[in-house]
């Protein structure tokens, strides 16, 4: 899983968010080091929805336009946990190796 996809799943892990909310949260989570573009976000959302990791939560009308909120599915949460464990294991491995030097 690539960093943008991981950040999107992570941004949705506490509550449903709309597109711009995901962008802001992803920027905050990465402390501004990764800045997602809107095209990347929706390309990823389409793939995530297709895979059943993300789904539409609700649609609200704001300023006369619909606004869609997305949420993590159960399967999406499981994938996020697995990916976090994988990354954690990798970081642990890297730390041990660097400590030996």
């Amino acid at each position: 899983m690539q960093d943008p996809t991981y950040l999107i799943l992570l941004a949705l892990s506490d509550r449903p968010r709309h597109g711009y909310g995901i962008l802001l949260e992803a920027s905050e989570l990465s402390r501004g080091t990764i800045r997602l573009g809107p095209g990347t976000l929706y390309g990823a959302l389409e793939r995530l929805e297709e895979a059943g990791h993300v789904e539409l939560d609700r649609e609200e009308i704001e300023e006369g336009r619909p606004r869609r909120y997305y949420r993590l599915t159960r399967r999406g949460r499981r994938v996020l946990v697995e990916e976090t464990e994988r990354r954690e294991a990798l970081v642990g491995l890297a730390k041990r190796r660097l400590a030996h030097r």
Partner: protein
């Protein structure tokens, strides 16, 4: 609609139709929210992100639609591709005409003879612009008017070569004359299938194709005259490179099958003239090769589609 929103929507129109059907409004809204009130354009970084994402979406969206739809869209694109190459050739001829105009005038070529050469060129170019506008605006009457005018110009060109020796040449010239009819007929056919062809991104791509072929012709002419190459050397090398790229695309599974149908149509159309006029077997073999590769690619994609059930485009547009 603010100028900013118009620009954002123009950028987003580059995405495939099936993607836009699902995400367009949301994507417009989110992109607008990344902009401040003073901005008249999205941040250059976001513009680049949108363009790259659109290309990616085109490459990964399976055109998993009924055979006749993909075929009709492929043929429109192929005919339009041919038209864009033709426009490139016309632009180049017009450029040469303007370049040598003072020299010709100084050499005493009568001005009405020069006008006889430049007039049809300018007219044909203008009608191609009209055809593009008609496709964009989906004006059927305008489309047919443009096609018939261009077809008429093509017919007039065939009449310029009378006599038995000229018949082959004249028949060959009828091919470019038939292109606009193909564009018009299949644009209408593709629309009738109720799955809109993404005309705007296709036109952007074709404008680029036109520019690329013009540049290529100019470079080929320059290289041939500078290094005294055998005429046709550059064309054959370029064809070989293109064939390799085609094989690479097929093997890696990259690209939309519509573009392969389009390429097949364009190559057949483009080479038909050459083949009729010269009877060169290499042209025939090259064409057969491209068509065969397109067909293989098409078969592979069909099998993949059958394996994965109904595609995303179908479901979304249903």
């Amino acid at each position: 609609m603010s100028p900013l929103e118009r620009r954002v929507r123009a950028l987003i129109s580059l995405f495939p139709a099936s993607f836009r059907a699902r995400w367009e409004e949301d994507l417009v809204r989110t992109t607008l929210e990344t902009c401040t009130a003073e901005q008249s354009w999205p941040h250059p970084r976001d513009v680049l992100d949108l363009v790259l994402s659109a290309i990616r979406a085109h490459a990964t969206t399976p055109a998993n639609q009924p055979f006749r739809v993909v075929l009709a869209q492929g043929i429109v694109l192929g005919a339009a591709l041919l038209a864009s190459v033709r426009v490139g050739a016309l632009l180049l001829r017009f450029g040469f005409f303007v370049h040598w105009l003072p020299i010709n005038s100084a050499a005493g070529v009568p001005s009405d003879e020069l006008a006889l050469y430049a007039g049809p060129l300018a007219l044909e170019l203008a009608v191609y612009v009209l055809l593009a506008v008609a496709m964009l605006q989906q004006r059927r009457v305008l489309l047919w008017t443009g096609a018939i005018t261009l077809g008429g110009i093509g017919l007039l060109e065939t009449l310029r070569y009378p006599g038995p020796i000229g018949i082959r040449w004249a028949l060959g010239m009828a091919v470019p004359g038939a292109i606009p009819f193909l564009v018009a007929a299949f644009t209408v056919a593709a629309r009738k299938t109720e799955r809109a062809l993404a005309v705007r991104p296709a036109l952007v791509g074709l404008a680029l194709a036109s520019f690329a072929t013009t540049t290529f012709r100019l470079a080929a002419w320059f290289a041939t005259t500078t290094w005294h190459l055998v005429p046709g050397t550059i064309d054959r090398s370029a064809a070989a490179v293109a064939a390799l790229l085609l094989v690479a695309c097929t093997v890696s599974g990259f690209a939309d099958p519509r573009w392969f149908v389009a390429l097949g149509v364009a190559v057949i159309g483009w080479n038909a003239r050459d083949f009729i006029q010269t009877g060169d077997p290499l042209v025939f073999l090259g064409t057969a090769f491209v068509v065969a590769i397109s067909w293989v690619h098409w078969r592979v994609l069909r099998r993949q589609a059958a394996g994965s059930g109904r595609g995303r485009s179908d479901r979304e547009l249903a």
